[in-house]
Point group: C2
Chain length 210, copies 2
Amino acid sequence: MNEEELRQIIRKIIIEETQSNTVRIGVSNHHIHLTDEDFNTLFPGQKMTVFKPLYQHNEFASNQFADIVGPKGTVKHVRILGPNRSHSQVEIAKSETYTLGIDAPIRLSGHLDGAPSVKLVTPDGEVTVQGVIVAKRHIHMSLDDAQRLGVKLGDTVSVEIDSKDRKTIFDDVIARPREDFLLEMHIDTDEASAANVGPNTVGKIMVNKK
Amino acid sequence: MNEEELRQIIRKIIIEETQSNTVRIGVSNHHIHLTDEDFNTLFPGQKMTVFKPLYQHNEFASNQFADIVGPKGTVKHVRILGPNRSHSQVEIAKSETYTLGIDAPIRLSGHLDGAPSVKLVTPDGEVTVQGVIVAKRHIHMSLDDAQRLGVKLGDTVSVEIDSKDRKTIFDDVIARPREDFLLEMHIDTDEASAANVGPNTVGKIMVNKK
């Protein structure tokens, strides 16, 4: 055993012993990110206003909404998140792909290659956005968290949800370390319902399950 | 090690080696079971007709529908399953408890103590049904399946879903052996979306995970 292997083992023991592998769970309802241009088309002459800050630094839920119109159906009153981005993007639950009639891929935010397009509609405008995805499970974390857990950007971990009646282990959870991120797992509303996640439910990160 | 312990170990090895712990997955959309009396109130002078048989013997999806009306909202066009039962019962997805505005417990079919009531409405009648539940994950199985897997009625097992992008392990899955049951895991639409279950996705039963 070399020093690095020994360090890995010790890190894992520390995590196990201190229970510091507990992770807060953030349930992402369907939402929309817009470019400045698309925002101005949908809300001409208006400014985005803050409804409430999200857990991650600088991110917020706005008071602005749009309807998502697909070939088969509409999902109404979907909240815009701020601040605006360099590419517009729509994130929906898997169950809503059937309502809309589109085959959105399961992807991390920003990975929009080949993702379908959809129309966004407000009382004052409409715009077509290329980039509808179902969010892939992921964990935001600081660089310190990543080191402590022994993971790097893109690694897959498992998270155990010890909820009442619907205990679940989510595999395929992508680690997303970044300097300014706070430790938080993001799942969508389908996943939250499936695992009976309530306001106080937490996850337990298992790095070495496989 | 006594003979019974040895038998248990050999059984597990056989299951592992033969992959006979594979289980078909049936996704249950929201549905309604009715008594003859409630059926006649909702569909006066009509007969229940078969839309298609379900996988379990004698169970079928009918061509009859009702709307579920809760204190907050309505879930429209929910299919009645047949044949009729001795107690009416409504099974919805967890996500629909928010739409309806009711706090339905996660229960096995027939376990309706303290479950909330809801109104069912058709063009020809309406009736109040005590017994709205969110179905608890379960596996129908024959008595032979139960013996082979080493489980009895009410035991909890885990099922691994090895799907694309959303691998998931469902714990808290109840074993339901009965002479006439065919091996099939039932999950609801939230759980199917959360684990990206498609038409050909199967589960792997893990009896001794804990």
